[in-house]
């Protein structure tokens, strides 16, 4: 007999197999999900979920797709949360401390409660990357926030109303565009292609009889 547990979706009790995730348990219960479901493998942040185990004080957060059900779980999903993304033209920005002050000034209202970090299903040091943003260390902010899936559970818990995922995203775009050194070999290759340097070789390859192409493919040297 399959092990079963009792869980509560939006306060209503369902008995579901213990091996399921919150997401598959909802489907087992009969829900056809439209909101609160996405990649189903922990990459898209669509299924932010809040739950409490009956009798325990702590309010927990997680992704419905990667969190296994437990006995006595009271579950609600956060299919949408009004984070506040500021719009900008990335080409007009400069990678400095002022950019954060101008676009996301509320990060300076952080009270250091660390609720964002505790809420993160990716176990990121969320408060720490906000601290990096405050002091204009965009590279560090980008690094610490890199694994963010933008589910928004941090923002849900933030008493200062900070939209953490948006701050991290801005830092990463600035870091990727302005701070990380240019890939010179890439710039060079794009110029060569635009210059038509490979056109003749490509035309020659495409004009070859198929057997010759097969031969080239099957005997090509593979870089070690």
């Amino acid at each position: 007999m399959e092990e079963m547990v009792n869980v509560y979706f939006y306060g209503k009790k369902y008995t579901v197999p213990a091996a399921l995730t919150i997401q598959t348990a909802m489907e087992y219960a009969g829900y056809t999900l439209k909101r609160g479901v996405g990649c189903r493998h922990g990459f898209c942040g669509a299924c932010a979920t809040i739950y409490r185990i009956k009798g325990k004080n702590e309010l927990k957060t997680g992704l419905a797709c990667t969190t296994q059900v437990q006995e006595g779980m009271y579950i609600t999903q956060i299919p949408y949360f009004p984070t506040d993304k500021r719009t900008y033209d990335i080409n007009d920005l400069k990678a400095n401390q002022q950019v954060m002050m101008e676009l996301y000034p509320e990060i300076y209202s952080c009270i250091g409660c660390n609720a964002c970090t505790k809420a993160c299903p990716q176990s990121l040091k969320t408060m720490q990357y906000i601290a990096y943003a405050q002091r204009g260390d965009l590279k560090k902010c980008a690094e610490e926030s890199f694994d963010c899936i933008m589910c928004g559970t941090c923002s849900v818990r933030c008493p200062a109303g900070i939209s953490h995922p948006m701050v991290g995203l801005l830092a990463r775009r600035l870091n990727g565009k302005y701070i990380e050194p240019e890939a010179k070999h890439l710039t060079k290759r794009v110029e060569e292609i635009n210059n038509g340097d490979f056109d003749a070789a490509m035309a020659e390859m495409m004009a070859k009889p198929i057997d010759e192409v097969k031969d080239l493919y099957n005997n090509r040297e593979i870089e070690k």
């Binding site: 995730t21 598959t24 056809t32 439209k34 996405g38 898209c44 890199f146 995203l169 010179k184 192409v213």
Partner: protein, 536 residues
């Protein structure tokens, strides 16, 4: 304990550990062309005719398609019974992009930048797409020892010489510019301190040209593109699917009928050009396989394009990614990125043998896993599943301690969530349904030949990868062909004058179905997989 494996699994792990040093001293031999053909014909699911049906109506009549896709092609349009007033136009745009993944977003950005009034409609949220889940990387020949011609050879050969040459040429030639474009939007590729891109091999590559952003490559690209779409103010109509294309009296595409997924209301979007960028089909679960795909991957674009008269190409060619998670059950079918093999892990059977080169092409390696399991060299796991080992501790030995957390943090996190420390123990894998190699047929410029002003981009398009796609060529394809579609649509709409709108093709297709005696009892496109359990 580094993993909750049972005794029989642990016994096999000991064999893997016992042979590790010897295996690491030699590289497994590459198969010859004949050996690959033999392995594929015996074990690849595409060669199992029982999993295909004949298409009975439409442009590909008489050809085969996976049973589940054929069923959708043989099913009824919602608009046979539900009525929509095409005179009541809700949206009127130059370029309508159906789908908000990597291809749709790239397309919209380029169309917008070229001055078009462009709008995205997407069934779920923008960014809810297979692009978001792509882990391993994106190919581009930008190193000194590489060239677009070498990339062409790898892609064309890896796809069994079946790809459309003009599409491969565009893919490989525009690849470096695609990386540069992304980098300039702020995508953080893995680089050395001097800016040199860190590149590795993928299965079937002859040069190290796989660019990555750790193992969140697709997520990093997708969240940046999404941010840019929002910054540019491009309208995105979320939770809204296209259920049929609209044509005009000249037979040109003229928009789409939309369905609000939450209210059930229909709307009409009129457009001078339409881009189908609806992605893949993993959630159709061809052959009963689990899938690595997004919840929304239900081949919708194929169905509505086909019903309007656009032919499919290689609709019977499916990619099973060799390394899907098979244990524990909570992550069944989840992608274990090919990058795990790029950075050193071997495929090892129950006896501890590295039975194949880990970087053969995906179809070959998937067939290899299936062979090992069928011939009794697989590992049994709880739940009646089987798989072979991916020897991940090798990565730490080869690259030094910490390599796994640095290069493949998503994989590390996914397994640690279930108490499996992949730095210490191998992980169990089996092929998972990953990609549709085929799709709607397009010409070299991304347009369908059958329906004027209709373009297709991304996984919904067929012919770019022949009958097998290489790792890192899909992220590339969505960017290259997405951007291309945006530019081409923005140039095209200026010449288009639309006549009166109709969906007459819906009724005529329905008549064809009835004449062929087809009644599946289903409506299509599917839109959402039927996972809700209703039996009690």
């Amino acid at each position: 304990m580094y993993a909750p494996y049972n005794d029989s699994m642990m016994e096999s792990v000991k064999k893997v550990e016992a042979t590790r040093a010897a295996r690491m001293a030699t590289e497994p031999r590459r198969l010859t062309a004949d050996e690959k053909d033999d392995l594929l014909s015996k074990f690849h699911p595409d060669y199992n005719n029982d999993s295909f049906d004949e298409i009975k109506v439409g442009p590909n009549k008489g050809q085969r398609a996976p049973i589940e896709l054929a069923k959708m092609l043989h099913s009824t349009s919602r608009l046979v019974t539900d009525k929509v007033d095409l005179n009541k136009i809700d949206y009127d745009v130059d370029v309508l992009v159906i789908g908000g993944g990597g291809a749709g977003s790239s397309c919209a950005i380029e169309a917008h930048n070229a001055g078009a009034n462009v709008m995205i409609v997407t069934k779920l949220r923008i960014g809810d797409a297979n692009t978001m889940m792509a882990e391993g990387g994106i190919q581009a020949a930008d190193k000194e020892n590489d060239s677009p011609v070498q990339h062409y050879l790898d892609c064309f050969g890896g796809g069994h010489f079946a790809a459309r040459p003009e599409l491969v040429k565009r893919l490989v030639t525009e690849a470096p510019d695609a990386i540069k474009w992304l980098n300039e939007l702020g995508v953080e590729f893995d680089k050395d301190t001097d800016g040199t891109m860190v590149t590795t091999h993928g299965g079937g590559t002859s040069r190290k040209r796989m660019h990555a952003a750790k193992d969140y490559s697709g997520a990093e690209i997708m969240r940046t593109l999404r941010d840019e779409v929002i910054n540019l103010g491009i309208p995105v109509i979320e939770f809204t699917s296209a259920v049929e294309l609209i044509k005009d009296d000249k037979g040109q595409v003229a928009g789409a009928v939309l369905l609000n997924m939450e209210t059930g209301d229909y709307m009409v979007a009129k457009a001078k050009t339409v881009v189908i960028a609806t992605g893949g089909a993993g959630r159709m679960h061809y052959n009963g396989f689990p899938t690595s795909n997004h919840y929304g991957a239900t081949a919708d674009g194929l169905v509505l394009g086909y019903r309007a008269g656009a032919p499919l190409l290689y609709q019977d060619s499916i990619q099973y990614h060799p390394t899907g998670a098979v244990y524990p059950s909570q992550i069944l079918g989840a992608l274990v990125t090919e990058k795990v093999r790029s950075v050193g892990a071997q495929l090892v059977n129950a006896n501890g043998e590295a039975y194949i080169h880990p970087l053969e092409t995906r179809d070959v390696n998937a067939s290899g896993v299936i062979r090992e399991c069928r011939e009794g060299r697989g590992v049994d796991a709880p739940g009646g599943v089987q798989g072979v080992w991916l020897d991940t501790p090798m990565i730490e030995i080869l690259g030094g301690e910490g390599t796994i957390e640095k290069r493949i943090p998503a994989m590390f996190r996914m397994y640690m969530n279930y108490g499996i420390d992949m730095r210490k123990v191998p992980i169990l894998i089996y092929p998972t349904l990953h990609y549709q190699n085929g799709g709607l047929e397009i010409n070299g410029d991304g347009f369908t030949n059958a329906i004027p002003n209709l373009l297709v981009a991304g996984e919904a398009a067929g012919g770019i990868h022949g009958t097998n796609r290489l790792m890192g060529n899909s992220l590339l394809d969505v960017i290259v062909f997405g951007r291309n579609a945006g530019k081409k649509a923005a140039a095209k709409y200026k010449e288009v004058t639309l006549g009166s709108l109709n969906i007459d093709h819906v009724a005529s297709y329905d008549k064809e179905l009835k004449d062929a005696g087809l009644e599946t009892g289903e409506v299509s496109p599917m839109l959402l997989p039927k996972y809700a359990r209703h039996e009690r």
